[in-house]
């Protein structure tokens, strides 16, 4: 089942779109001076991007280019000034968002943090507990269920955050540089765990990062944005086998694929 998953499914049949972004523009007004003067900054300049269901797409770009803004727009946390965004997953809990920091509630135990999305939806307690246990198992955090966020390492906190995102069984997982603050080894382990979860749950993942090697390792397809105002400068499949392991990082093809992305990132003006 897992092995049969084709990298280019839409050659054979039309795959439904998980996200369809057309001509999205977003401006921000930044106040200047005392008398209400404002400066308008264009963050997103006509973004077109459509993502097939079940794909893993990395969104790469220089810092502050508007990657996070685009992700917030897809999540429905921000609205574009122009253009349309269609997201297939619309029901509550079908879209999950993982932030740059774990953003756990410090007064709740790990299990209570993971239970939060279900609690907000009014899921009964017994059902909640079972789902929380399962989500914690998936990120290998069952032992820490009763501990508090302040007692955990950065990697464990991020795993708790991912468990919280997975507990509602989302269809679309939006991730905003989730592992940026972690050490390299922890980050690589979490990348591998994330790929396994993506396959198991048939998720659609939109993964924002500025780390080229991470994007190369994770994504089926990489979209590179230019500096502000952001537009798409590169959008292509990552030329690597579908199933990736820790060994993939050492292969010549990996370095070539990363080089392609680096070149695209360099090209983008700004």
């Amino acid at each position: 089942m897992v092995a049969a998953r084709s990298r280019w499914p839409y050659i054979c049949r039309r795959v439904p779109k998980a996200v369809d972004i057309r001509g999205v523009r977003r401006r921000f007004r930044i106040p200047r001076g005392l008398f209400g003067a404002e400066e308008t900054v264009l963050a997103l300049d006509g973004i077109d991007l459509s993502i097939e269901e079940g794909s893993f797409v990395a969104l790469i770009g220089p810092s502050g280019c508007g990657k996070s803004t685009l992700l917030r727009i897809v999540a429905g946390l921000d609205t574009p000034d122009e253009g349309t965004v269609e997201v297939a997953a619309r029901a509550r809990g079908e879209v999950a968002y993982v932030f740059q920091d774990a953003h756990l509630l410090p007064w709740r135990s790990v299990a209570a943090n993971v239970a939060l999305p279900l609690e907000l939806r009014g899921v009964p307690r017994e059902e909640r507990d079972a789902k929380v246990l399962q989500a914690l198992e998936e990120v290998e955090l069952s032992d820490a269920a009763t501990r508090y966020p302040a007692e955990l390492s950065g990697g464990m906190r991020m795993r708790a955050s991912i468990a919280r995102a997975l507990v509602t069984r989302p269809k679309l997982l939006l991730m905003d540089e989730p592992f940026a603050a972690l050490d390299e080894l922890t980050r690589q382990r979490l990348d591998e765990r994330l790929l396994a979860l993506w396959r198991e749950h048939h998720l659609t993942v939109l993964f924002v990062t500025h780390a080229i090697f991470e994007a190369t390792f994770l994504a089926e397809r990489a979209v590179v944005l230019s500096g502000r105002p952001a537009h798409v400068v590169h959008d292509a499949a990552v030329e690597l086998p579908a199933v990736r392991t820790a060994a993939t990082r050492g292969e010549p093809a990996f370095a070539r694929a990363a080089g392609t992305l680096l070149a695209a990132l360099d090209q983008g003006p700004g």
């Binding site: 917030r72 999540a75 429905g76 946390l77 509550r92 809990g93 879209v95 999950a96 968002y97 932030f99 920091d101 953003h103 509630l105 410090p106 007064w107 709740r108 939060l116 999305p117 609690e119 907000l120 939806r121 508090y148 966020p149 302040a150 007692e151 509602t168």
Partner: protein
């Protein structure tokens, strides 16, 4: 037995300091034969406290109840006002200056108004305790609610949380340590507010409060009883502080686990 040693280590120094200070006071008052109406020795204060024990106890209860009512009103209304102010920037801009104004008007100047509105007696005294103690509750609670990270608000929005879920599961839970700080400041202030309120508004039937006891002992030059009443008001403030601290550490134990 390290816990009992640390208990002794915490309680012994202030106890020794008090004994030394009282001994010096007692010795000085006797040696210099200071008139008792200016500075009574501690032994005279103690015997006055024993002699007028029932009056002092009644005064503590009267003032204590008024402080408690004023403090509870501060806690409920202060947090409610903070929630209201936090609900929108415009509401905050429009009303916050008046909350500050409430803080800056001297309570002695408002106290006669309270007598006009509530009549002399416990209600005016409790109102005075409330006015003096409500401001720290408002500012601290507001700061706590404002400090909620935008990402956490996004998280609640994403999962379709209702306004009341955001309020109770996010804003108030997040602000709990700051609210507790506001309440700890407020409980001491409420005792001060009650005693000042009694100076102006405390004359009525029933057991007179500590403020009245201070005024009458002053007029009768019973300085020993005056000292005993001042001591009682300090004890009352500490008792309130201790109760609020204990209650808040009970409620906040999860926060303290988190901070450990």
């Amino acid at each position: 037995m390290s816990t009992s040693r640390s208990f002794v280590a915490i309680t012994l120094p202030p106890f020794v300091a008090a004994v030394v200070a009282l001994a010096v006071w007692e010795g000085a008052a006797r040696a210099l034969s200071v008139p008792a109406y200016l500075l009574p020795p501690p032994s005279a204060v103690a015997s006055a406290a024993v002699g007028d024990a029932s009056a002092l106890a009644g005064a503590c209860v009267t003032t204590g109840l008024a402080s408690l009512v004023g403090f509870l009103a501060s806690a409920v209304i202060g947090v409610a006002v903070a929630i209201g102010l936090a609900s929108s920037r415009i509401v905050e801009r429009g009303l916050y200056p008046y909350a500050v104004a409430l803080q800056t008007v001297p309570i002695v100047a408002i106290a006669p108004l309270l007598v006009l509105w509530c009549g002399a007696g416990p209600r005016a005294v409790a109102a005075s305790a409330f006015i003096v103690s409500v401001f720290p509750v408002i500012t601290n609670s507001l700061a706590g609610i404002r400090a909620v990270e935008p990402a956490l608000r996004d998280l609640f929005t994403l999962y379709g949380a209702s306004r009341s879920q955001v309020l109770f599961k996010l804003e108030l839970a997040h602000a709990a340590p700051q609210i507790a700080t506001g309440l700890r400041i407020a409980c001491g202030l409420s005792v001060i507010g009650a005693i000042v309120g009694e100076f102006v508004a405390g004359f009525s039937e029933g057991s007179p409060g500590l403020g009245i006891l201070v005024m009458t002992s002053y007029r009768q030059l019973r300085t020993d009883l005056l000292f005993a009443a001042v001591g009682c008001s300090a004890l009352l403030g500490m008792l309130m502080f201790g109760m609020v601290s204990a209650a808040s550490s009970l409620v906040l134990r999860r926060w303290y686990v988190a901070a450990r």
